[in-house]
């Protein structure tokens, strides 16, 4: 029983990171009806930016802010240069183009920063907290990760429900024509979605870096986990993305704990396949059919 709880605890913070990545995917899907398979590539790239800034300044927060800024710029660039023009052509093209961006970013990162795996020291201890006579599989860094995730989710919720920009983004996502007829500059709202997703992804990248190391390909598996969570959550739902992001983290932690961590990708695949088979619209998804 204690091991079970330990495994669960161990999965919460990785689940939080998966949740953030899934959030980024959902943000873009909601606004643009594109699954951005380059999302982890962007996050990987901005994490390298953070790494560079951190080497220069030694400051974790400044590095995080730099990554967020880079994420915003990268999101905007990908949207304007690639997705906006492609969307008019075809949907297969949009999917393929995001993979083109992923490949380019990974190669560019390899060029700029080399292919070696780099470590990323956490700002606070990543060792288990000692409490009540035992060491828990839970560190102050996990607390930080979860805290940041919660803050972000609250912030996004407020943005979407309380602000004009948030309302414009939601309207643009649900019905671009009515949004335009209401005076909303829809293409700008879509761009905000990409910027926001880029920023959220950048935060996820910096947060995951201490546990997964940084290399051009080291986030690939995160893409699979995040996509799984986003799809199970319905692709449209921020709540769904967070819930199932954490859920996916817990399941993976349990499976890795009781068997072997190399099972994780297979588990994600099975979860994804089962979900798509049983519930073609996700758990939180509604209205929109999968025929997009």
């Amino acid at each position: 029983m204690t091991t079970f709880i330990d495994y669960l605890l161990g999965g919460v913070s990785s689940g939080a990171i998966i949740a953030l990545m899934a959030l980024a995917i959902v943000l873009i899907w909601r606004s643009t009806r594109v699954v951005n398979f380059a999302q982890v590539g962007q996050a990987m790239f901005t994490t390298y930016v953070a790494l560079t800034v951190r080497d220069a300044t030694g400051n974790w927060i400044i590095a995080l802010l730099a990554a967020i800024a880079a994420g915003a710029v990268l999101g905007l660039v990908v949207h304007w240069l690639v997705i906006r023009p492609v969307k008019r052509v075809d949907t297969s093209g949009a999917i393929i183009a995001t993979f083109g961006v992923l490949i380019s970013l990974q190669a560019l990162a390899g060029m700029l920063w080399g292919g070696d795996t780099r470590g990323y020291a956490p700002p606070v201890s990543n060792d288990g907290i000692q409490l009540a006579g035992r060491i828990w599989p839970f560190s102050w860094y996990d607390v930080l990760v979860i805290g940041v995730t919660i803050a972000l989710v609250i912030g996004l919720t407020l943005l979407f429900t309380r602000t004009n920009i948030g309302l414009a983004m939601r309207a643009s996502a649900f019905n671009p024509e009515v949004a335009r007829l209401s005076g909303v500059r829809v293409s700008r709202s879509l761009a905000y979605g990409w910027i926001l997703a880029g920023m959220v992804g950048a935060i996820a990248g910096v947060l995951v870096a201490p546990t997964s190391q940084v290399s051009p390909n080291s986030f690939d598996i995160l893409l699979v986990f995040a996509f799984t969570a986003a799809v199970i959550g319905g692709l449209d739902s921020l709540v769904g993305a967070v819930t199932f992001g954490i859920g996916t983290g817990l399941v993976i932690s349990l499976v890795s704990g009781y068997s072997d961590s190399s099972n994780a990708p297979v588990v994600a695949l099975v979860l994804l396949a089962l979900n798509l088979l049983l519930k073609p619209d996700g758990v939180f998804g509604h209205h929109h059919s999968r025929a997009v």
Binding site: V101, L102, G110, L112, G114, N263, A273, L276
Partner: protein, 456 residues
């Protein structure tokens, strides 16, 4: 497959002639005794085989899949495991030979393709891409899960099936008096067994042979001997011990050569650096190229027939408008599954060839990078064109070579050299999708269209 029968006989002959002509030309090219060239030919053949399947799946049927690299792994592992472990054919009790391994690679490919395709047919666009992405990442991970069976991270070493005795430089000059050639008449394998899908066609390897009057022992003996002797690991060890050792010497380097996209991190990848001269016989690469070219030509023939059959038009009809297709009596999901299964067969056979080229199967060789490579190749060449698949295959092999050469001339630092091809691929994919969705072949066809029309 009954629909295939409706292809007029003249079409079949025409397609066979095309495939045969290409086969003859490539075989001749392969005779240049430049191991590097042969090695590239082998890679091109392997990629082309897999990408013919992509033409059908992505191009005709409109399903963007990232799983075909994983399906190649299925073929590669099936090939490796059956040839390493089975001495006789189960049920039939026949003595094992390498053709059976190829057949089983194909069968496993079809089975796994049925499972994934059955799931995938219900999905569209990003859901399908995401599921197959999961397949691309998840399936190779299975190898790690069962290290006892699949060899784990290190994979499984294979020996290259050599026709005995025929493969040193001198054999090229001395002609067909080698032991391998003896096998031709008696053991000429019935290759068409794995071509069941093309029904009724009669292009057996022996036919290829008789046409082949190129004279060289390698060229004539190779395609026929290849299947029969493909893998008999036991006697291979003895018969061709020295040359074989050369290839597994650097399986990882070769693996990354084949899966450039997955290995941005890896060190210098240069097929040329494999020191073949130390081995004495340069011919290993020629032999591998022969296998690969032969497979590509046979499967190219199959693909050509499929694409131009009624089934080909059915796939396109479902891609363009599945509702309209359903109204006109087509079952859209069956059409999608069949495209998936066919492309899985192609991928698995390519995977078997790939195992041959690397003399190794391992999760690293069949990773996400390989799947992405196939997608890149098909998009650049032209999504809905078999010629595009071939051009894409050539690009996948040729571009890194060019970059290497440039890098050597200009003295680029290593990270730049290693990543330049992928950066080019990524940017080209984006540009092609934006500016020329038809890829190279589509764009050429489009620009030629007015000219051709005027001639009518």
């Amino acid at each position: 497959m009954h629909k295939l029968m409706m292809l007029p006989g003249s079409r079949l002959v025409q397609h066979a002639a095309i495939a045969l002509a290409i086969w003859v030309a490539l075989t001749r090219l392969n005779q240049s005794v430049d191991p590097l060239l042969s090695y590239y030919l082998a890679l091109v053949g392997m990629y082309a085989t897999a990408m013919f399947g992509m033409t059908i799946l992505v191009g005709l049927s409109g399903q963007v899949s990232l799983g075909n690299g994983a399906l190649m792994a299925v073929g590669g592992y099936a090939f490796a495991l059956t040839s390493l472990n089975w001495k006789t054919v189960p049920i039939l009790g026949l003595p094992w030979n390498a053709v059976w391994s190829v057949v089983f690679a194909g069968i496993f490919g079809i089975l796994v393709g049925l499972v994934i395709g059955g799931l995938a047919a219900r999905l569209k666009g990003p859901y399908l891409a995401g599921l197959t992405l999961g397949v691309a990442v998840g399936v190779p991970a299975i190898a790690n899960r069962f290290p006892g069976l699949f060899g784990g991270e290190n994979g499984l070493m294979l020996t290259v099936p050599y026709p005995q005795g025929g493969y040193d430089a001198s054999a090229v000059d001395t002609g067909p008096a080698d032991t391998g050639a003896d096998a031709i008449p008696t053991e000429a394998p019935d290759l068409p067994t794995e071509q069941a899908p093309i029904g009724g066609e009669s292009l057996a390897p022996s036919d290829l042979l008789t046409v082949d009057d190129l004279g060289g022992a390698v060229s004539s003996a190779a395609p026929s001997v290849a299947p029969s002797d493909l893998i008999t690991p036991d006697d291979l060890m003895g018969a061709t011990g020295a040359p074989i050792a050369s290839m597994p010497a650097e399986p990882s380097a070769l693996a990354s050569a084949g899966t450039d996209l997955g290995s941005t991190a890896s060190g210098g990848v240069d097929a040329g650096s494999v020191d073949v001269s130390a081995v004495g016989g340069l011919i290993l690469e020629q032999w591998q190229a022969t296998l690969s070219i032969t497979m590509a030509c046979i499967m190219g023939f199959v693909a050509l027939n499929l694409v131009r059959s009624r089934q080909g038009r059915t796939w396109q009809a479902v891609r363009d408008d599945s509702i309209a297709a359903a109204v006109s009596g087509i079952n859209p999901s069956r059409s999608k599954v069949s495209a998936f299964v066919v492309s899985s067969l192609f991928a698995a056979l390519a995977g078997a060839v790939f195992a041959q080229l690397l003399t190794y199967v391992g999760p690293g060789a069949y990773g996400l990078g390989l799947s992405l490579s196939l997608l890149v190749g098909i998009v650049l060449g032209g999504r809905a064109s078999l010629l595009g698949a071939i051009i894409g295959a050539v690009l996948l092999v040729w571009l890194p070579v060019v970059v290497d050469r440039l890098s050597a001339d200009r003295g680029w630092p290593e990270p730049v050299t290693n990543n330049a091809p992928n950066l080019l691929y990524g940017l080209l994919v984006v540009l092609v999708v934006l500016l020329a969705p038809g890829g190279i072949t589509g764009t050429i066809r489009q620009s030629l269209a007015p000219v051709l029309r005027r001639r009518d």
